[in-house]
């Protein structure tokens, strides 16, 4: 009965969503208070119903109810409990239900905590949210029902893909979905503003936390996915420019741009219609991402043609939401006049540049991702667009962004004098060039990537510190005064510095790991010792180990340096009998300046084992950089102005005309 309750709850939620879409919208257009008021209880009821159905699906997975087709296809009784739970969303139908769950929970959050939100805006926002829910619930009910029963339940399930049985991947999709769906809030606010015909700093103050939260979740989700690829796929790669990765990266780039342009709306009451457009685009690219991943269209046009129902349905959703939103924008954007002015050299101009670089970079990723599809449909040519293309055409944008970031971040609003603004930055500039020269002279071999990366990274990192230093009047005030000022800086300023610093660390880590990685491949006999990159490695033995639902060859490799034991690494080669699928588990010695990364391969006829060893310089700095960016997001999100009086809509403009 459990699965039927879940199914019934989804159907009821679908009907509630239809009501929530139509009634508050009508109320807002006609000015009927009691119709608008329907939005709040409907949003809460919808969230409760979807939560109920998600719980019942999770229960089916936890209790291994193989009469439910989804469970039989994606679970197994011997699977560890955590992967039974994460298996709920480790498949198409379940992940869609998770998508809708997050959507409705966000709607409920607006309903609960949006008391201070103007009634009309709230009704419109919740109505737009409900329209997204209607589309996805229809998709779920008509093409991807997770609660389908099997007439004859199998004795045991087909198990979850072993690659997904991993803590990293258990939490990767929920975070990404939190990000995607978080952008739907920015979208709903944008559409509501277009219907409403007004955008002001109070509006931006409502949108920014949602965008920040979405950006934060996307950052964490992409970071987790990258970390998982690093240790699980067996060659220590962390970014592949795969279409499904790009699907999450494009919304991230748009969210980053939106985050910055919303600051301009909030503080300076300008760039309004551009910000609205960005909010629409950011969520549109989330939808496109969902389409790319869920329809399989990028894998092959033919995969799409084989099962066109789902693909066509998502395409329809895309057309309605993106087309509808852009049409509405075309008609209403003119109503959003921006009235404040700024000069060519100003924080506003710098943020326009930031937006330009991020958006064009995202569009380049988009063109590269869909190009094989376009070329095949247009001319029938089959071609590939892979990492070499993206590295070449994407990197210049990030280099340009890094070059202008410290100056742009420190420029005053409205009108700036470049000479004066540069004053606190000469030190960081000189230091970063000096460090780059040092790196260049130390490194052997002629790649410029390492030194250039070091210059840019130091420039961005020290620039972020200089920004804080200037705010605290370092060098102008006494130490006590500086500390007091640092302590009383708004959290948003700390968030900005930490996130920008994280960007610097990221640049350094990416250049270092790409430029200075060392690799070794050889056949090693048990007991044999070999030297690599200043370390001695000894393959002590290889043991057969039985896991709960797999068997594994586990190698014990001693890692020594200068005769001292550093660690014993245990890379594994696992085999999952139910799915008949092998996986590799890398043995990694984590370090501050390098990871030593070892995987084992096949046993050779002579009894030796293939051992691949890598030294990955500063690999951990990548994850640290992601953590810094996320921390920056958290700091900004907890800024005082979002906790207090965010919704006060001043009668007159809040920004003084100076």
């Amino acid at each position: 009965m459990n699965a039927e309750f879940g199914h019934l709850a989804v159907i009821l939620a679908f009907m509630v969503a239809i009501v929530q879409m139509a009634v508050p919208l009508t109320g807002a257009l006609k000015g009927w208070q009691n119709w608008m008021a329907v939005a709040v209880p409907a949003a809460l009821l919808q969230a409760a119903l979807i939560a109920l159905s998600f719980a019942s699906l999770t229960w089916a997975f936890v209790t291994s109810d193989f009469s439910v087709a989804l469970v039989a296809n994606n679970s197994h009784s011997a699977k560890p409990m955590i992967y039974k739970i994460s298996g709920t969303w480790g498949n198409h139908e379940g992940s869609l239900l998770l998508w809708v769950l997050i959507l409705t929970l966000f709607g409920a959050a607006v309903a609960l905590w949006g008391r201070a939100l103007p009634g009309r805006l709230k009704a419109l926002v919740l109505s737009v949210q409900a329209s997204i829910a209607v589309a996805f619930l229809a998709f779920l009910l008509f093409t991807s029902n997770p609660f389908e029963r099997l007439a004859v339940p199998p004795l045991d399930g087909n198990d979850l893909n072993p690659l997904l049985q991993d803590p990293g991947l258990a939490f990767h999709p929920p975070f990404l979905y939190l990000g995607y769906v978080g952008l739907s809030m920015a979208f709903s606010f944008a559409i509501a503003a277009l219907i409403d015909g007004r955008v002001d700093p109070a509006w931006a103050r409502w949108v920014r936390p949602w965008t920040l939260a979405a950006w934060l979740f996307l950052t964490i989700g992409i970071g987790i996915g990258s970390w998982w690829a690093y240790y699980e796929l067996g060659w220590g790669g962390w970014w592949f420019w795969d279409p499904v990765e790009n699907a999450s990266f494009m919304p991230w780039l748009f969210a980053t741009a939106l985050l910055h342009s919303a600051i301009v709306v909030e503080k300076r009451n300008t760039l309004k219609s551009w910000t609205i457009l960005l909010a629409i685009l950011a969520f549109s690219f989330s939808l496109i991402g969902t389409f790319i991943v869920r329809s399989g269209v990028i894998t092959s046009v033919h995969a799409f043609a084989n099962d066109p129902t789902r693909g066509m349905f998502i395409l329809l959703i895309l057309a309605v939401f993106i087309g509808g939103a852009l049409t509405l924008y075309a008609f209403r954007a003119n109503a959003l006049r921006s009235d404040s002015v700024f000069s060519l050299v100003s924080r506003e101009s710098a943020l326009v540049m930031n937006n330009l670089l991020l958006v064009v970079a995202a569009l380049v990723v988009f063109v590269g991702t869909v190009w094989p599809l376009v070329a095949e449909m247009a001319t029938g040519r089959k071609l590939s667009v892979g990492p070499p293309f993206f590295n070449l055409s994407f990197t210049p944008f990030m280099v340009a962004l890094a070059m202008m970031l410290p100056l742009g971040a420190i420029l005053p609003w409205k009108r700036a004098r470049p000479g004066r603004a540069m004053r606190p930055l000469w030190g960081p500039l000189a230091l970063s060039v000096a460090l780059g020269a040092l790196v260049w002279s130390l490194q052997t071999g002629g790649r410029m990537l390492g030194p250039v990366g070091a210059v840019l990274a130091t420039w961005v990192l020290l620039g972020a510190l200089a920004d804080l230093g200037q705010r605290a009047r370092v060098g102008k005030a006494g130490a006590g005064e500086v500390l007091r000022r640092l302590g009383s800086l708004p959290r948003a300023d700390w968030g900005k510095a930490v996130a920008h610093g994280g960007m610097g660390v990221m640049i350094f880590a990416i250049s270092a790991i790409t430029a200075w990685q060392q690799e070794d491949i050889r056949v090693v006999q048990p007991g044999e010792r070999f030297a690599f990159a200043g370390y001695e490695l000894t393959l002590e033995r290889v043991e057969r180990v039985e896991g709960p639902n797999y068997s594994s060859d586990m190698a014990f490799i001693a890692l020594d340096r200068d005769g001292r034991r550093i660690a014993t690494l245990t890379p594994e080669k696992r085999f999952y009998p139910v799915q008949r699928f092998p996986t590799t588990e890398a043995g990694i010695d984590l370090g501050v300046t390098r990871d030593v990364y070892v995987v084992i391969g096949e046993q050779q006829p002579d009894g030796g084992w293939v051992v691949r060893s890598f030294v990955k310089p500063f690999a951990n700095w990548l994850w640290a950089a992601v953590a810094f960016m996320a921390l920056g997001g958290v700091l900004s999100l907890t800024d005082r102005r979002y906790r207090l009086g965010a919704a006060v809509r001043p009668a007159a403009r809040a920004v003084p005309a100076e």
């Binding site: 894998t299 590269g368 040519r381 990492p387 409205k414 096949e602």
Partner: protein
């Protein structure tokens, strides 16, 4: 998002590893060239993987083929041309700059120029308004409407 990637890997991965010890060339310069080339060549039966990363048997065959051509004295470009003649341009992870691919390669500079142009026009218009007195600049006299609002505010006793 990686679910699909993982699922496809699952279908395609075979119990072999990327570059094997027996494939490695003795000449380190040639081997380095082979590795660099391998990153540019798609494993044809895989999902968006280069032959350098892939575990598939076909990738191994291609890696050996690349090395054979290099040992035979081919330049990098000749190796790629050889592979394209055999397998079509699908094998290249970096599409060539041809008439058919011009839009792909020109997308970045064209979008940047276009966006940059729009941004410059926008910013300069703002700046011009700022510079010219009388039109939106800070020194502009108040319009009658604004004057009325100001009077109303002042009468309120300085706001709340």
């Amino acid at each position: 998002m990686r679910l699909v990637l993982a699922l496809c890997l699952a279908l395609l991965a075979l119990p072999a590893q990327a570059v094997q010890p027996d494939e490695v060339l003795d000449d380190p310069v040639l081997e380095a060239r082979a590795r660099a080339l391998s990153k540019e060549i798609r494993c044809l039966v895989c999902r968006n993987e280069s032959i350098d990363e892939s575990n598939a048997d076909l990738a191994r065959d291609l890696r050996i083929l690349v090395r054979e051509r290099l040992v035979a004295g081919d330049s990098d470009a000749q190796v790629l041309t050889f592979l394209v003649d055999r397998y079509g341009e699908y094998v290249l992870l970096r599409p060539r700059f041809t008439a058919g691919n011009a839009a792909l390669w020109l997308a970045a500079p064209a979008l940047l120029l276009l966006g940059g142009g729009v941004a410059v026009v926008f910013v300069r218009r703002r700046a011009r308004i700022a510079a010219s007195p009388g039109a939106g600049g800070p020194d502009r006299p108040l319009s009658p409407d604004e004057q009325a609002r100001l009077d109303a505010l002042l009468k309120d006793g300085g706001g709340r």
